[in-house]
Symmetry: C2
Subunit: 138 residues, 2 copies
DNA sequence: GCTTGACCTTGGAGTAACTCCAAGGTGTTT
DNA sequence: AAACACCTTGGAGTTACTCCAAGGTCAAGC
């Protein structure tokens, strides 16, 4: 199976596949006589796993940790649970941040319901004077 | 007013101030005899504006557009409203995406409520078999 | 007068997670 | 033989910074 086949089967571009290999997320495949990469069914599984994690917005580092854990079948899985919990926490934090942004933006938008000249636009006014609210973490 | 004063008054680091100048977001300040940057009250206003926009998660490009519009007081302000609407749209989209991620992560987490061995951990199982849901846009 | 420490300057490298491109090799078809 | 689609590597570009090194300046203290 060549790189374009793997790309097609997983919906991950060839460029990205080579990139994952380079950073060590995806195991190096065998090569054929022309130096083309040759992938196995294992690689499909690996890459699907990675893709799923990315869709869950995990970082490469989190994925690397998960992959590392996945190959130690007899270890306790606390670390996996912990990683998931932390990641879930980050996602929830980010949602809250964005919801705050949404509120401020909506209020700001109401400052200018009818088109005017720029000098009278309440939005620019508003942008000059937002009272910085607290962001929990960045 | 030197760069560290501006930094202190706005809560934006000196590094970031120089960076904003470099990419053209912040107007170039005057220089004193030692070639130190000398800022005016205008710069404080500018930088506060930029900081407010960044807190609203706007990109540098959006901010640049706003700043450009802000100096044309007699133009109609439709474009400002449109920019805000689009940006609000992006924020709402991202919130929805993250909420979907949150649901999937929570379900995944339930696959392993009691610590086990890695080989029996339902989370890894789950990560292998997430049915890719539709993302509206990336 | 000299050292110390706190600033300032510039330029460049590093971060995450890719994406795109150029230059060159290979393989199949017409 | 030419056209076209694929493969290889290496390197640059993206966003929004952050950090660092090497060198210049300035005020205070001994």
């Amino acid at each position: 199976m060549k790189i374009s086949d793997l790309a097609q089967q997983t919906g991950v571009s060839s460029d990205t596949i080579r990139y994952y290999e380079k950073i060590g997320l995806l195991p190096e495949p065998a090569r054929n006589l022309n130096n083309y990469r040759v992938y196995s069914a294992e690689h499909v599984k690996y890459l699907r796993f990675i893709k799923n994690c990315r869709q869950l917005d995990m970082t490469q580092e989190e994925i690397a940790r998960l992959l590392h854990l996945a190959i130690s079948p007899f270890e306790p899985c606390d670390e996996i649970n912990q990683l998931l919990d932390e990641h879930l926490g980050h996602v929830q934090e980010r949602i809250q941040e964005l919801q705050q942004v949404e509120v401020v933006l909506s209020k700001l938008r109401e400052q200018c319901l009818h088109p005017k000249q720029v000098q009278d636009c309440g939005i620019l006014e508003g942008l000059n004077s937002i009272v910085a609210w607290e962001k929990k973490s960045s």
